[in-house]
Symmetry: C2
Subunit: 343 residues, 2 copies
C-alpha cells in the first residue's frame, strides 16, 4: 500500500489537530514524520502516530506549550519546551542554532522538558541545508545497562552529524548507540525467531538469543561495542540530560526529554569551493574502494535513505498492511474519513 507524500503529511496534521494539538506543532510533526517515512526510517514515522495521540490525550505532550528561551552566552541558548511536541521543539531549536551560527559562527542550543523528537537526522540535515555542519542528540527512555550492569539505566541516545555538499544531498549520519532498536526484539518475539548473541542481555546480565528475555522479559539492549557504546550513550546523556536540565539516566520519561543542537558555519572555516573539492575527493575514495566479496556498491551515511526518498517521491510512501489497518481505525475513531488520505 502506497500513499502520496501530500496525503501522508495531511493525515498526520489532521489527526494531531483533531485532538487539539496546536497547528504549528502539528505541521512540524507532519514534516518530520514524512521526512522519516519517505526515507524508510519507519521507526520514526507514522508508525508512532497512535502513541503521540495517546500522549497528547493524557497531557504527556502539551497541546499549546508556553516554551521559554534563555540566552546563556553569545553562542548558547536554552529552551524550556514546556512538554510541547518534540518535533516542533527540535525544529525550533535547530533553527535557532542555525540563526546563531549565521552571526556567531557556532550556535549551540540545549532543550529541556521536551518529548520524543523522532529522527535525529532531520535536524542535522536542516543545518546542512543552510551550508552548516549539524550535530544533534536526544536522550531516550532507559534501554541499556552500563557495561557490567543488568538494569536499564541509559537510553540508546542517538548521535547525528550532517555535512553539507554543494549540488548534492548532504552526508547524514544518524545512529543509535545500541546495536539494534528494541523494535527488532519485539518483532523477533512475535515471529518466534531467535536473535544473535550480540543484541541484548537477559535480566541477569547474561547474553541471550531469546528476544523475549532480551527485552520484554526485563533484559537490556547491548550498546555498540560494549563499553564504547556505553560511553557514547553516557556522553550524549550528559549533553542532553544533565546540561539541559531535562531528565537523565533512568529518570528519563516521555515528558522530560532533553536535546542538544549544534550548528557550525563552514563559511568561517574554508571557502565553499575548497571544502567541496576536498569532500568530493574523499567521497570518490570511498565510493571507488575495492569492493568486499558480495558487495556491488559502497554507500555514504544517509545515501540509502536518499535513494529511498527519491523512490517514495515517485511511487509514494510505503505503508505495510498491518499499519494501514491500524491507521484507518485511528482515523475513524477520531471522526475523520480515511478516504481523504488513501485511495
Amino acid at each position: 500500500m502506497k500513499i502520496v507524500k501530500e496525503n501522508h503529511n495531511k493525515l498526520i496534521i489532521d489527526v494531531l489537530s483533531s485532538i487539539g494539538l496546536s497547528k504549528k506543532q502539528a505541521i512540524s510533526a507532519g514534516s518530520i514524520m514524512s521526512y522519516a517515512d519517505e526515507r524508510e526510517i519507519s521507526t520514526h514515522g507514522i508508525l508512532m502516530l497512535e502513541k503521540y495521540v495517546e500522549r497528547i490525550k493524557d497531557n504527556t505532550i502539551n497541546k499549546s506549550p508556553e516554551y521559554v528561551w534563555e540566552q546563556k552566552s553569545n553562542s548558547i541558548y536554552t529552551l524550556d519546551g514546556d512538554q510541547g511536541m518534540g518535533h516542533f521543539l527540535g525544529d525550533l531549536a535547530m533553527k535557532k542554532a542555525i540563526e546563531i551560527a549565521e552571526d556567531k559562527s557556532i550556535g549551540l542550543v540545549f532543550v529541556k522538558k521536551a518529548t520524543h523528537y523522532g529522527a535525529s537526522g532531520y535536524y542535522t540535515n536542516l543545518a546542512a541545508s543552510h551550508n552548516m555542519i549539524g550535530f544533534s542528540s536526544t536522550n531516550t527512555m532507559p534501554l541499556i545497562a552500563p557495561t557490567g550492569g543488568s538494569e536499564r539505566i541509559l537510553g540508546n541516545n542517538p548521535i547525528s552529524f550532517a555535512f553539507p555538499r554543494k549540488d548534492d544531498s548532504p552526508i547524514v549520519l544518524d545512529i543509535a548507540t545500541s546495536v539494534v532498536a528494541a523494535g527488532k526484539l519485539i518483532l523477533a518475539n512475535q515471529l518466534g525467531e531467535s536473535i544473535p548473541k550480540g543484541w541484548a542481555l537477559d535480566k541477569h546480565g547474561n547474553p541471550t538469543e531469546d528476544p523475549y528475555e532480551g527485552f520484554e522479559g526485563g533484559g537490556t539492549l547491548l550498546p555498540i561495542e560494549n563499553h564504547k557504546g556505553y560511553g557514547l550513550s553516557l556522553a550524549m546523556d550528559i549533553l542532553t540530560g544533565i546540561l539541559t536540565g531535562a531528565g537523565y539516566g533512568s529518570k528519563v520519561k516521555n515528558d522530560n526529554i532533553g536535546f542538544v543542537m549544534l550548528a557550525i558555519n563552514t563559511d568561517n572555516i574554508m571557502s565553499e569551493g575548497e571544502y567541496n573539492e576536498r569532500l568530493n575527493d574523499l567521497i570518490s575514495m570511498i565510493k571507488s574502494t575495492k569492493k568486499a566479496e558480495g558487495y556491488n556498491e559502497i554507500f555514504l551515511p544517509g545515501e540509502i535513505e536518499q535513494i529511498n526518498k527519491n523512490k517514495s517521491l515517485q511511487e509514494g510512501i510505503s505503508i505495510n498492511d498491518n499499519l494501514y489497518v491500524e491507521l484507518k481505525k485511528l482515523i475513524t475513531s477520531l471522526g475523520l474519513s480515511p478516504n481523504k488520505y488513501f485511495d
Copy 2:
C-alpha cells in the same frame, strides 16, 4: 620493571632533545606520554618513543616548527602546525580552545600539518580541568574499509569527550572507531593465536580469524558495529581532515594529520552546583546498577585509567621487559646513560 614518573618524563625529554627537538616540544611530548603510561594507555606511551625518534631524524616531525595561527571567527581558530610534534600542537590547540571558551563560551580549533598526538583523552581532560566540556578527535593512518569495501580508506579516528566533576576526576571517554587496535592483531600473530571474527576482514573483505590476514597481510580493521563505526570514522575525518586542510582518507600520512579541539564553558550553561549535583546523581545511578553475573563493579569512562594512575604514582610506571631492553638500546645509541633513568 617500574620507573618513577619523574624519570619516565625526563627520559622522554632527554631522548627527544638529544636529537634536536625543540625543548618546548619535548616537554609537551613528555607530559602527554607520561599521562598515557601512568594510566596504562600503553599504546600511546613510551612504546612510541623509538618511532618518534625515527620521524624526527627523517624530518617527518619538524624539530622547530614555525606554526601559524589564523582567526576564522570569534570562536574558531585554525593552526597550521608546520609538521611539529603532535603532542605539542595538540596541547597548544586545546589551550587555545579553552582560552577562547573562557571569553566566548565556546572555543573551536582546527589543526593541519600535524603529526601523531598520542592519547586523545589528554586534551579533553585538559578542558575538563578548566571546568569545561572537552571534545577532541584526530585522523590516523588508513586502517579500516568503508562498509562493503576491502581496502584501508579511513583511520580508526578516535572520539574523546571529557566532562568536569567538582572534587573528583573528570569523566573521560576516549575510544577508537575500530573494534580493536592494529597492535592486538600484530601481537596475536606473534603469539600464533587466532582472533575473534568481529575484529578484522581479510584483503578480500571476508571475516577472518587469522591475525596476519586481518592486518599485516593486507586486511582491514572492522569499525565498531560496522556501518555505525564507519560513519563515525568518516564524520571524524571530515572534521579533522577535510575542514582543517590536513590529509584525509587514504591520503593521511604521518606528516599531514589533522586535529579538532572543542571546549565548551559549562559556567555559561548552568551553575556549577546544579551541574555537579545532577551529574553526581547520574553517576550514582550508574555505579549502583544491579550487577551482571560475574561483575563486582561498574566503571565510568576513564575511571580504570584513573585507578591505574593512582597506582603508578605510588608504585612507579610499569615497563615490560622487552620494552625496557629496547629503551636501553635506544638511550645508549643516542649517547645517553640508561642509569640516569632506571635504577
